[in-house]
Amino acid sequence: MCLAIPGKIESIEHQYGGLVRMAKVVFGGIRKEASLEMVPQAKAGDYVLVHVGVAISIIDEEEAQKTFSYLEGIGELEELMPPKEHRGQD
């Protein structure tokens, strides 16, 4: 149900008398229409996360890289900052 797929905005058109922005979004060769009403700043070429015909987020390319460098990061971080006994919030 919560399945959402990243796709690239190919083109944008206005519907309902200019009130609603709809996009053609490409998912690995498959084109589907998606509403851009929840992502007003999205533009052609952006990657958006589409769920049941509605784009719910613009994918942040910089943040997307963090998963690939995370493992290197945690080793370095721990050298800098040894674990404290308790850092939670009360």
Binding site: M1, L3, G28, H51, V52, I56, S57, E61, T67
Partner: protein, 363 residues
Amino acid sequence: MKFLHEYRNPALAQQYLEEIHKRTTQAWTLMEVCGGQTHGLVKNGILSLLPDQIRMVHGPGCPVCVTPLHLIDKAVHLALEKEVILCSFGDMLRVPGSEKSLLEAKAEGADVRILYSPLEAVQLAEAHPHRQVVFFAVGFETTAPANALSVLHAQRKGLKNYAILASQVLVPPAMEAVIQDPENIIQAFLAAGHVCTVMGLSEYEPLVARYKLPIVVSGFEPIDLLQGILMTIQQLEKGIYQLENQYSRVVKPEGNPEAQKVIEQVFEVSDREWRGIGLIPKSGYAVRPEMAEFDALQKFSVNLPPARECPDCIAGQVLKGLKKPHECSQFARQCTPVHPLGAPMVSSEGACAAYYHFRKPNW
């Protein structure tokens, strides 16, 4: 596909697994909240690659599974007796009702249609002005904006023949119900990434503080899940509890304000019954009174006898993480995706369906 396939890289998965093994020194029980995450873990074989000390318990995050039986009965009734065009996401069709499923109603001649988006249901209503169209609006916070948007589109077009049968549930109250269960064994959560894409992180801070357990908002691809598990294990092993966001490429701390606005225009928070779990206060959305003309429950009067659950199905215990699907006496015997006894065997997010499709010989 960009932003998908690179998160399925086997070499990187191996590195994450090694790190998880290295850092796990004792037994931990984690719950992945969303059924999409459950399928990701089972389908990719991650459960059997994790250290034996890590027990992943599958959460209630399948809206189809927790949709109350009486709503399915109402959908069947609307389709068969009120002769509406009853539209739904595909998953709902085979979920058994007290008497029959929507698919069986369709076989009897009801006009039941599977749609990809609620916005298509509005187009259908526009194309069939003399028919009533009802969309079975099932979902968590992820789907609420699209379901709400369909109502706003119908309103904008002045349609009088469109309504939704809302079965909208909310994740944080369900997580709290799981924690408060006297039998709870969960020590940390992987929170549902796409729910947080819409709602943001603020609802989870109080849970972390109140129950002193780590919550890591995670994605759905294998690398996302492994990173989420690693982040959680690191906290548990250090004895700390924080809210962390593994899925920052789509989840912003504030969520999606536009989507939240649309939800608020159409829905208000209400108490909700969860199938297999029971009533959870303030755990769902109901259509606002001022939008009553788009609420199928108010538009059509439906009085049905009380719903009847299948006595052999242990879906409630599976949804609360107390039992694994293959621990059910009916699993893969009387209960299969073709002949399901309960919703978790039907849905593409149901834990029972995940275990069935990717089951091991000893399950």
